[in-house]
């Protein structure tokens, strides 16, 4: 094939463009965070998932230990079934509990795992039964108002502790 004097510059241009796309994928899109570590699947049933989305983080003690794989609705128990992929190198006791937490005031929701005390660990495919649903603001407010009303004329301050 005939060589052209522009070959070098065109090659440079193509490399620069490819590097730019790669930069976007790695630095902005965080392609590196997709781990190819082995994972195992654990389910959790929640009464209310709030705004949890697939690919949300699963954290324990604030450290990411996995991702939410899928969220489905179970019409037998009327609960949400959240499938999580936890990294193979982290094992949790069988009686660990899962909570839906919010990062910051308006941030994304994620699942926090509180380790329990059981000697056996969570096996692949097992189900976390002790869960705490997402906090829904409307429920919180109505609960508060209901307590207020039922307390009647009782002194304020004694009411809020009544219901957890």
């Amino acid at each position: 094939m005939q060589k052209s004097r522009h070959d070098v510059w065109v090659g440079l241009f193509v490399m620069a463009g490819a590097a730019a796309v790669l930069f976007l994928a790695l630095k902005a899109g965080n392609l590196l965070s997709i781990s190819f570590d082995d994972t195992y699947s654990v389910d959790a049933r929640f009464d209310n998932i709030g705004g949890l989305k697939p690919r949300a983080a699963v954290k324990s003690a604030g450290v990411v230990v996995g991702r939410v794989e899928s969220i489905t609705f179970d019409d037998k128990t009327f609960q949400a079934n959240v499938a999580m992929q936890l990294q193979q190198r982290f094992a949790f006791p069988k009686d660990s509990s899962a909570k839906i937490l919010t990062a910051g005031l308006l941030g994304e929701q994620y699942i926090g795992i509180e380790p329990g005390g059981d000697e056996k660990n969570l096996a692949p495919g097992s189900v976390i039964t002790q869960t705490q649903s997402a906090v829904v603001l409307e429920n919180l407010i109505s609960q508060f108002l209901y307590n207020k009303a039922s307390e009647g004329g009782a002194a304020p301050g004694a009411d809020a502790k009544g219901e957890k």
Partner: protein, 260 residues
């Protein structure tokens, strides 16, 4: 009262349909000629140099300034809500999804599309295309196809450069100038930008825009009146038609990709 005359309306509709049909036929031929054009790779390389390398300066400078402005404007709104760190996410998402492909396609139409139209229009006016046909050389394959492939290759690369430089520009304004925490800037961005559904779809968009802009430029040059006025009108039409087509297609693509 021309438009009340059914014969006139019919003539206009028929003429437009013929144009659309011919354009579609040329587009299909160009797409089918891509492998043939790649076999004469040196022609394509030459065109990538003219279409891509020469556009790099305008793309880089525009991207940098668009990134600057996005960071400044985003900061003023976001700091009211106490989430100034999210400016990184704002800059990256708007560049990767929309501004990168769209603005670089508009610049590409102005910088490279016009020169393609003028070049081919002048070849036509100078009867070079006719001379080629006389020598049994197909001008679509020899002249149009390498330019088409070059536009197709250059556009995604240019859009990528635009977005990447824009993100760096946004960082320059947000972190050293305004004083937002650098770690939060990147982590917010990485938390919100998906490499496939945002970056990947941006690349898909820019490929579509590359086909659109290059095809419109080639078509306008190939079908212009072979006169000086004809070439100048065709060059103007290239910018107008390809800009409108890019904006309209962008709406359709965005609705398809991101409305889930």
């Amino acid at each position: 009262m021309n438009w009340l005359n059914p014969a006139w309306v019919g003539r206009v509709v028929l003429a437009e349909l013929v144009v659309i049909g011919m354009a579609a036929r040329l587009l299909l031929r160009l797409l089918a000629l891509i492998p043939a054009a790649l076999r004469r790779f040196s022609l394509v390389v030459e065109q990538i140099f003219f279409v891509g390398n020469r556009s790099l300066s305008i793309i880089t400078v525009s991207g940098l300034f668009v990134g600057f402005v996005l960071a400044l404007q985003g900061y003023y709104t976001l700091q009211r809500y106490g989430s100034a760190e999210a400016v990184g996410l704002l800059v990256a998402l708007s560049l990767v999804r929309e501004l990168g492909p769209v603005v670089s396609a508009l610049l590409f139409a102005g910088r490279a599309g016009t020169s393609l139209t003028a070049e081919i229009g002048l070849m036509k006016a100078g009867e070079q295309l006719d001379a080629m046909e006389m020598m049994a050389v197909d001008p679509v394959q020899r002249v149009l196809a390498p330019r088409f492939v070059a536009g197709l290759v250059s556009m995604p690369l240019l859009a990528g450069v635009f977005s990447a430089v824009g993100v760096i520009g946004g960082w320059l304004v947000a972190v050293p100038l305004i004083g937002i925490d650098g770690g939060a800037f990147w982590s917010q961005m990485q938390g919100g930008v998906s490499w496939w559904s945002d970056v990947g779809n941006g690349v898909v968009k820019s490929v579509v825009f590359g086909v659109t802009v290059t095809f419109v430029s080639l078509w306008q040059g190939y079908t212009c009146k072979p006169t000086p006025e004809g070439v100048s009108q065709a060059t103007t039409r290239t910018v107008v038609v390809s800009s409108l087509a890019v904006l309209a297609l962008d709406f359709v693509l965005t609705a398809m990709m991101f409305s889930v």
